[in-house]
Amino acid sequence: MSAPVHFKFVETPRRVREDRRFVAGRGRFVADVRLPGMVHVALVPSQHPAARIIEIDAAAALAMPGVHAVVAGAELAAAVDPMMNGLDTPNVRRFPLAVGQVRYNGEWIAAVVADSRAQAEDAAELVEASYEALPFVLDAEAALKPDSVPVHPDHGSNVLLDRTFVWGDVAQHFAQSPHQIAFRVTWGRNSTVPVETFGVVVAWDPWNEILDVWASIQMPKYADQIARALRLPANAVRVHYDVDVGGSYGVKRGIKHTVLAGYLARRLNRPVRLIEDRLENMRAGDAHGPDRIFDVTVAFDSDGIINSMKMRALDNVGAYAGRAPFQLGKPVGAIVGPYRIKSVEYRAVSVTSNKAAQEAVRGFGQAPTNYAIETAIDRVAAALGLERIEVRRRNFIRKDEFPYLIPSGTRYDSGDYHTVVDKVLAHVDWPALQQQREQLRAQGLLAGIGISACLEPSGGNSSFEPLLNPKNTTSTWMESCRINVDALGYVTATIHTTSSGQGHETLAATVIGEVLQIDPDRIRIVRPDSLASLPGNSPVGSRMAIMLGGAAFHAADKLKRKLIRIAAHQFGCAEADVDYATGGIKQRGGPGQLSWIDLVTIAHRNFHLLPAEMEPGLETTHVMQVPTGEALPTPDGRVQMYPCHSFEFHVVLVAIDPDLGKPEFRRYVIGHDCGTVINPAIVKGMTLGGIAHGIGAALLEEFVYDDQGQMISQSFMDYVLPSAHEIPEVEIVHHCTPSPFTVLGQKGSGESGYLGAPAAVASAINDALAPLGIVMSKLPIRIPELSDAIAAARASK
């Protein structure tokens, strides 16, 4: 951290510049992009979870008014390359449309293109497909069995990944520990489910040989992947980043949609628009998240100190590989959470099944892992009759131990967990909260306090790729910023990605304003298209405060140094002998003084006044590599995953009417430490939004399949998103432990709340149920299951 401790704009309550256009309804989302001659796509879904496609008869559909084409998998597969897999699994091939065989209910078998979406939908209903049904498998444990039907026969089994890591002396730590507990917890298949579905508009210009793409996208290397699959030169794909994305939190990947629309646009020579409807989105829109069973054993001492942990995570990625298996890799970087667990055995198993393909979800696998780790702490406390917070305190890494190297090879940057906990307990009045729980219990309610403490790894590199795929040697994971000061002295800076609500324009302007000491509101932020962009990796892994913030900081710092050189040259003094303040420069101990516009004029118009070999104009760029991203994983799987680690500590009071089984929040407090906060309103919003999302994952949300392989959560009536009624008022207790690895001490916060809320809510419910002797160990804990469990327990008493 090299910045001033007192900030002028950073950390101050400033408005988020993006908000103005949105409150006026003047955002520009992908569905707002209209091109002349544009045609519309509707998809034909598979009714089977697994079947061989015998024939697709499009004659009736093609005869419908306005219909231009019906394209099925065979035609598409001949013209495009398969989409990229994350792991080295070449026989798990995936195309945007099913080729020969369908592998999940809802998988697209054909695309219908018509003058309007309504016409395309009408015609899609007339596409006749005949199938030969095949055996299918939905359950991860069944899929793992050697005799299971393979979802991809060419791959030979359903196992995409089965790797066991041992970090430290697990055997010895287990042998030496007087206690062990083993348990299983299950994370149901939920997702981020943005209110905007995925959409893309593609136009092919055959005269310039360029494919223009407007998409609701949040995907690293998106343009590259589209070009590769469509067999186009990468510089023939131009992605427009000035599209507002209506929420993503990880899932807006859209490679298959874009490859399909790109193919159709070229074949028909018309702009093509593919906007999912909600059913297409939920059934087949790359919309599902982790679906995971954890088997955990921990070895611990009588005072609650946990010495070692064995964890097996079995993840059901659905029908195709994609990047989903990497969601077992990212948690390696925080596999011990905030605790000093000395050794870990981690077995990561990823299997295919006949469910929809899994995609990246907020936290990239960390929220489920945190739920498993936090459950372990609660179980240890219960086994020893110790207070749950006390067990956490005893196991926390102490603030004087940072940077702290965890067994799996990541060095945590900084933290002060004990202080955050103290602050939260003081804020909630811990004894009073416990009393309140007793009062609720005395009223005949089931009442419980939930606790969770967890980390948000942030800064997002891609170390899980080489960790899990030896053929992948990616260590670079950069972000960039370019600043240009025009001849009139106005500042314009670039960002090279779409945004989905994270406030990147505000972020970049605030940081540049801070460094240059000029009003951020006067800085224009623009988004060049992908061909005019500097390298970047999109807003994944809670990285933009660190990476875009870092790139903007360094670019601004270079600009400032250029101004200083110009000024020192005019004054005839050393660069060290000038002072930069609010855009102007003064000679220290001398008469020299130049204002911002003087300096700009010299740079733009007075080449004769510039230092030798300085380029004219005022433009700087910075391409920033992720901090600590220096090495590939070691052969035994030790790896520096993300550079920064934010901390959150949740305390939740829940009351349940035993007859209704509906959990109600009576108090929700989170202690949050994400280092230096660049914009307080943005960080607050992300934390509150993440908690709401986590409450959904804990209580409401799951993509459910029936035993026939049909997905039955097909609308917002079956997949319930929390409304304002379900989300309590949340109190945030702040703490700031700056990161030593970032320019302003900032860490990430894009996943905050979501990473700890599910564990906290589960912990509260289990505390409430403890008097009945029941434990809920699968998320979501929905009202029917909860009320049934309570009724059964009461009946047996």
Partner: protein, 168 residues
């Protein structure tokens, strides 16, 4: 078929199929893309518009059913280009949004609530917006925005009629 609509205080004559929803008509025929669709089955509230001043779901209504009613979309809430209403400004002040996709529906819902209940309790606000899903914010800063707007409206000398196209 031909429908006569009264949208944002202007008459518009549009040619639609009988099955065209109001939201598709607003977006496709009239180019009013501030009204969004998130589910098209009446749950998310992204398509909220005001019909005679009351929030309705434009995905659950056919364009032909709107014939003759005063419809207000988000485009009419700002008093002038570049100038925000008190409610819109309050959303900016508290950052009552992130991606902005649910926001037009939230703002219109808030405008209607504050016209009905100038001094809402937290429960009033929660209940008014509970039919609009926001996936980004967790609602906290939206509730704050509406409470702030109520306070500012009470202290302003604006006429109570903040929604255009309303009978006075």
């Amino acid at each position: 078929m031909k429908v006569e609509l009264n949208v944002n205080n202007a008459r518009a004559s549009v040619e639609v199929e009988p099955r065209t929803t109001l939201v598709d008509c607003l977006r496709d025929n009239l180019g009013l893309t501030g009204t969004h669709t998130g589910c098209e089955h009446g749950i998310c509230g992204a398509c909220t518009v005001l019909l005679e001043g009351e929030p309705v779901r434009a995905c659950l209504m056919l364009a032909v059913q709107a014939d003759g009613y005063a419809i207000t979309t988000i485009e009419a809430v700002a008093p002038a280009p570049g100038e925000l209403s008190i409610v819109q400004d309050a959303f900016c002040e508290t950052h009552g949004l992130q991606c902005g996709f649910c926001t037009p529906g939230m703002v219109l819902t808030a405008e209607a609530l504050l016209r009905r209940i100038p001094d809402p309790t937290r429960a009033d606000i929660v209940s008014a917006i509970s039919a609009n899903i926001c996936r980004c914010t967790g609602y906290g800063q939206i509730v704050e925005a509406i409470a702030l707007a109520a306070k500012r409206l009470a202290g302003s000398n604006l006429p109570r009629q903040v929604v255009p196209g309303e009978p006075a």
